[in-house]
């Protein structure tokens, strides 16, 4: 993947906006209508997808003994709210949610801005070394997080940043996927004539970016923002090393919850639910767009 790609200077992928324009049927789906077997299998899959999340609610509102009964309880109870309160008291979930909002928000703003800038340059500007630099960007997708964690930890220890939020924001501020995603979008969505027109009008490069590139890029920026926020919220390895439960993100707090200092399983489950709820709410509202974004990313990225 990484080896062949740099040769691809221009690809034939269409911008998102053009998608609706092409005939949907007759492409791939000649398979006709779904039968009852298909619906049954899909419904089963949907149930399996949702059940563990639902079980968090059930397990969060019952004691271990109640859960072990036969038949086990399948409905939540009012003690869920007591367990919420206990979880908030025993683990820094409240602070963790606030921290995660700050961290994920900052990472999202930075990533979308920097990736749009770089994606635009790789898509539309000619400069020496462009191919090599793009290959470098794509190559980084292969490097495991673990490979940079040790020097990063040394760095933040030197800077006295352990347990501070900038330690988890700064290293995650860019994403190679984001650059590639924005590049692929802008190659086809941004007509060269528009840029030419801007230049003829004497607009500065910065103005061209702000008033021509950004408006065109907005749909892709929104998709990238959603995906980045989700990834940043769920980031586990590096925050676990850089932060402690004294100043955690949600994932660090959950790891603490799971490490045995809270004895009550129901409280752990209630805490897990609290830490997951914000994402689930966002997902319920924007799910359709996120699905669309991932499918576009699959074709483009």
């Amino acid at each position: 993947m990484t080896i062949t790609l740099p040769g691809t200077r221009t690809t034939d992928v269409r911008p998102v906006t053009a998608r609706g324009g092409r005939p949907r049927r007759g492409r791939g789906t000649r398979s006709g209508k779904a039968g009852p077997v298909t619906y049954t299998l899909l419904t089963l899959t949907a149930l399996v997808s949702i059940f563990p999340l639902y079980w968090t609610v059930v397990a969060g509102s019952h004691t271990n003994a109640e859960l072990a009964a036969t038949p086990p309880p399948f409905l939540p109870s009012a003690s869920l709210f007591d367990n919420f309160a206990a979880a908030l008291e025993q683990a820094p979930i409240g602070k963790a949610i606030l921290n995660s909002v700050l961290v994920s928000g900052a990472i999202t703003v930075g990533t979308v801005l920097f990736c749009t800038l770089a994606g635009f340059a790789f898509a539309k500007l000619q400069f020496r070394g462009r191919g090599v630099l793009l290959a470098l960007v794509i190559g980084t997708m292969m490097v495991p997080t673990q490979l940079s964690v040790i020097p990063l930890f040394m760095m933040i220890a030197d800077l006295q940043w352990v347990n501070q939020l900038q330690a988890v924001i700064l290293p995650t501020l860019v994403s190679a996927f984001g650059v590639f995603f924005m590049r692929q979008y802008l190659i086809s969505a941004l007509p060269n004539e528009l840029l030419e027109a801007g230049r003829v009008d004497g607009a500065s490069t910065f103005r061209i970016f702000w008033s021509i590139v950004v408006p065109v890029a907005r749909p892709a920026m929104a998709v990238l923002a959603m995906l980045t926020f989700l990834t940043a919220w769920n980031e586990f390895f590096w925050p676990l090393i850089a932060l402690t439960t004294a100043n955690p993100t949600v994932q660090v707090a959950l790891a603490g919850l799971g490490s045995g200092y809270v004895p009550q399983q129901s409280v752990i489950m209630a805490g897990t639910l609290l830490g997951t709820l914000p994402v689930l709410v966002v997902f319920t509202i924007l799910g359709k767009q996120i699905v669309g974004g991932i499918m576009q990313g699959a074709v483009k990225g």
Binding site: T8, I50, W55, A118, V137, P144, L280
Partner: protein, 328 residues
């Protein structure tokens, strides 16, 4: 990436040359080139500054650290030991245990997952009522964090209070101590990974399926191919680049597997079970560095992981090329 990259030469031939201004205005062209030049670097600079400081430099520095005996309490004052860390690693039973576990969990977690994802994508590709609903619901596990998913599944797989054991008992089977067995714990961890990623990969495959030209199916139909034959001989070959891509991505993920085995025990230990039955390379690295404070040894394990990834990606590229050549 997958689709774009499958035939770089074709893309190059097909694509019109990037907007070069007409040749009869050389001075204008020259001026524009120059200005574009300078600004191009300015636009990519923020990315490369952050990338250089927080990815490239640490990446290379890890190699340097791996050649030292360095402890977490004295991270800047390591002693040069050459390749000793690597020698120790290759002689360490913990390393081989973790490597073996990573491999078996990796196979258990990716092979069924990707097969199911292809099947699911096929189902989602029918004309469906509630299409958006099914797609969105299948992506919900992906939106759930590793930590949250593992905590819930640790509860579900619990020995005494877990729902799965309750269900096993209800149908007359024996309770299983999932966490303490080698295969049972690795299976449970693979289930968590599979649960989180199947829907996501199904959507990737679905996107690729929708870009298969309909003519291919029409031709197959004229040849009298059954639906199953069409799936086998049209859909799957067309998906090959995407499948290769997801294999690479899943493998990279599997080599780094960390959060699930860390949290599955429920007591925060880094040993991966009482006899290390589900300790992975990622977990071993964390244990070496942050439980045993041997940063140099941890860096060595990190590099070993990178080598494994390079090997897998390289193998995939070779297989992809050979297959593409065979098709021609």
């Amino acid at each position: 990436m997958t689709i774009a990259s499958q035939s770089p030469t074709q893309a190059l031939v097909a694509a019109p040359a990037p907007a070069t201004p007409p040749a009869q205005r050389p001075p204008a062209r020259r001026r524009r080139r120059l200005s574009q030049n300078r600004w191009g670097y300015a636009y990519v600079a923020p990315f490369f500054l952050v990338f250089g400081a927080f990815s490239l430099y640490p990446f290379l520095y890890t190699a340097w650290v791996s050649l030292h005996r360095t402890s977490l309490s004295n991270i800047d004052g390591g002693t040069w030991v050459g390749l000793e860390n690597y020698r120790n690693l290759l002689q360490s039973e913990f390393f081989w245990n973790a490597a073996r576990n990573t491999l078996t969990i990796g196979i258990l977690a990716t092979v069924p997952q990707l097969c199911m994802a292809v099947g699911l994508a096929h189902l989602l590709n029918y004309k469906l009522r509630g299409r958006t609903f099914f797609r969105t619901v299948m992506l919900m596990p992906y939106a759930t964090s590793i930590a949250a998913a593992t905590l819930v599944f640790a509860q579900l797989f619990g020995r005494d209070y877990g729902l799965i054991n309750t269900a096993l008992e209800a149908v007359g089977l024996e309770r299983i101590d999932w966490e303490s067995g080698t295969w049972s714990s690795q299976f449970a961890i693979a289930v968590i990974v599979t649960w989180r990623w199947t829907g996501y990969n199904a959507l990737i495959y679905l996107a690729a399926m929708q870009s298969i030209p309909g003519e291919l199916y029409e031709a197959a139909e004229i040849d009298g191919a059954s639906r199953w034959k069409q799936f086998l001989h049209v859909t799957v070959p067309s998906l090959r680049p995407t499948i290769l891509f997801t294999i690479v991505v899943s493998t990279i993920g599997a080599v780094q597997l960390f959060g699930e085995p860390l949290l599955f025990a429920g007591n925060g230990t880094t040993s991966g079970g009482s006899s290390g039955q589900y300790q992975t390379l990622g977990l071993l690295m964390y244990q070496q560095g942050w439980s045993n404070f041997h940063i140099g040894q941890a860096a060595t394990t990190a590099w070993a992981m990178f080598m494994i990834i390079l090997l897998v990606v390289g193998l995939n590229a070779v297989i992809g090329r050979l297959r593409a050549r065979a098709d021609r």
